[in-house]
Symmetry: C2
Subunit: 361 residues, 2 copies
């Protein structure tokens, strides 16, 4: 992982500056001499910039199947760059990183965060690398929101846009679910109004938030096939409440334990609320989504949605695609029937790979 | 509200007896001289036996539109009886009621609860009233599960069955969601391992459980139309996390406050886990659902499902209806397109009323 400093004049959308701010990134492939072959990749809520393995870090990345020589994000041709979202906790500045003036974590003194700020963090990274023109900007989930916020804020920078399982503005159900997740963290006494010590984080709240997230990230039919009503072998007779009885509960438990020990609670709150507030149409004077895309200079766009996604329902991707088309951007809308719901972009390589290749090649 | 004692020989499915056990009930209409005109109504997870207003209690009931003279549950013809589920906290014995031997609430010493026990609680109430034959047994959600458990356990008692937005066996998604709700209660330090004082219940956990419940009880399209992305007027600038910004969050807040002050946390845990474990096919030696219905003596059945229900998805009602038909019960399956999701049975009177009338008349 490498780091790009936020440029001296960097301001959050709410006007705040950030002393010593930085964005963590990783890259694959080589930047061409004209510096015009870069693809900028934004992430979902929880991943780091480690989207794929590399000589520096051979661990498997979160989008390994899509990045590499001959893959959809073809590193023989493109310089692929993934940034850890501003506000996250994997190297980019966020509530868990240290305020150099106090030597303490920013915690809730970190500036109010928007998806636009995450996009601007990506732009700061490009400036650091001397990249002023992108072959494309791509992202899924929050990453797709960030990619659209990037295009809206920095018109003419990216030639192609790929927005996967994303939304221009979240639905009330998605807001409600995230609100419950945040309340689980806020209700954990260990949250301490955000002032928890790093060694005593609000694990109970994070566990609940992650279990609910996991449940809404996947498709019902996939879980019917994968877990059904299968029971945990040899459950304790008269086991207390909270002990998993069904395999699906054991799966949630494993997900929660992994997450609660590696993700920072305040970062989660900031990123979660930013997703609720994001409303891409705010970037047009007339408040129309098509107007946002009218002057962004895109030559091509891809919008993918998944029929089984309950968190970012397919009507939202249809709305984005219609607005792009109305704005005379050459846009392809792909509806996938992946059973995996919102998380399909991580696992349904057969569904996501061909349209991504078509967008970028 | 009136009370029926559990008969002396009453045993829970796990073999436990319950000293001083009782079931709370309300009734509307008159029991005929032959005592054969009763309809037994079971409730969902959270309501009391107060399904409709009466001279004794003029407050509006939770199924007011369906019960009364000339209504679907026509009190000019039928003696309608609604029981508070065994294990609940509105008069029936449950974890919050007092163990007469200790003078303390049973709490987690209350016997392990199943949907079959709730059904047996209804049967105890019938015995108390001298009713041995029912015109029908009806219920929605957990109430529909209880109605089916009643039919399976007491064959020949009910002539007609109405099971609405119910399941013969919950899906892994429903189990996961309930598991998260239970964890929210268990994680609340005020839960105290179940030993909380009545005046200091685990309100934070109950709030989260109810907010998540409310979110999964309703349909996405209904909320799009009802709340959209409407913001709370005059939010506090720089409001802390946890303060509602969107109208949907304010709605959840109102639901949570009402629920957390009136429902007992241990009762919630017992009822929630009973729903996960329920598996109607266990009542057949060959484990087939149709076999359960083969010898229950039903003359007619109605199964209603709602396309937008994410908690009790319509495939489950289709499965029940198919099993009834295979068992040669004259069964009607009604698919409703109500936008209100799982809660439609409370509000979509136009959709639920005609088939219920047809079942019972």
């Amino acid at each position: 992982v490498k780091f790009a400093p936020l440029p001296p004049g960097f301001r959050f959308r709410n006007g705040s500056a950030l002393v010593g701010g930085q964005v963590a990134y990783e890259s694959w492939g080589s930047l061409a001499a004209d510096r015009r072959n870069a693809i900028l990749l934004f992430t979902g809520l929880s991943p780091s910039a480690h989207a794929a393995s590399s000589a520096d870090d051979p661990a498997e990345g979160w989008w390994e199947a899509f990045i590499g020589p001959g893959r959809a994000l073809d590193t023989n041709r493109w310089f692929v760059l993934c940034v850890n979202s501003l506000g996250s906790c994997f190297g980019s500045s966020g509530p868990a990183s240290i305020d150099p003036e106090t030597g303490q974590a920013w915690r809730l003194r970190f500036p109010d965060l928007t998806v636009e700020d995450i996009a601007a963090g990506g732009k700061a990274c490009l400036e650091h690398l001397g990249v002023t023109s992108l072959h494309g900007v791509v992202g899924a989930s929050l990453g797709g929101m960030s990619a659209m916020a990037f295009v809206a804020q920095f018109p003419g920078t990216a030639r192609r846009l790929g927005t996967l399982s994303a939304s221009d503005a979240a639905s009330p159900v998605a807001i409600a679910l995230r609100s419950v997740q945040r309340e689980a963290i806020l209700s954990d006494p260990d949250w301490q109004g955000g002032q928890y010590a790093p060694e005593r984080p609000p694990v109970r709240g994070l566990r609940i938030a992650r279990k609910l997230g996991t449940t809404t990230y996947r498709g019902a039919n996939e879980w019917d096939a994968r877990f059904g009503r299968q029971r945990v072998p040899n459950p304790t007779p008269g086991a207390p409440f909270g002990e998993p009885e069904f395999e699906v509960e054991r799966y949630l438990e494993a997900q929660a334990q992994r997450f609660a020990t590696r993700f920072d609670a305040n970062c989660y709150l900031y990123l979660s609320r930013a997703m609720d507030r994001f409303q891409l149409a705010d970037h047009a004077a007339d408040g129309r989504l098509a107007s946002v895309f009218a002057s962004v200079g895109l030559e091509k766009a891809l919008v993918i949605g998944v029929e089984t996604d309950v968190l970012f329902p397919i009507g939202e991707q249809a709305r984005i695609a219609a607005a792009l088309t109305e704005a005379q951007v050459s846009a392809t809308f792909v509806r996938l029937n992946s059973p995996q719901g919102h998380d399909a972009f991580l696992v349904d390589v057969a569904g996501f790979d061909p349209p991504l290749r078509a967008l970028l090649s």
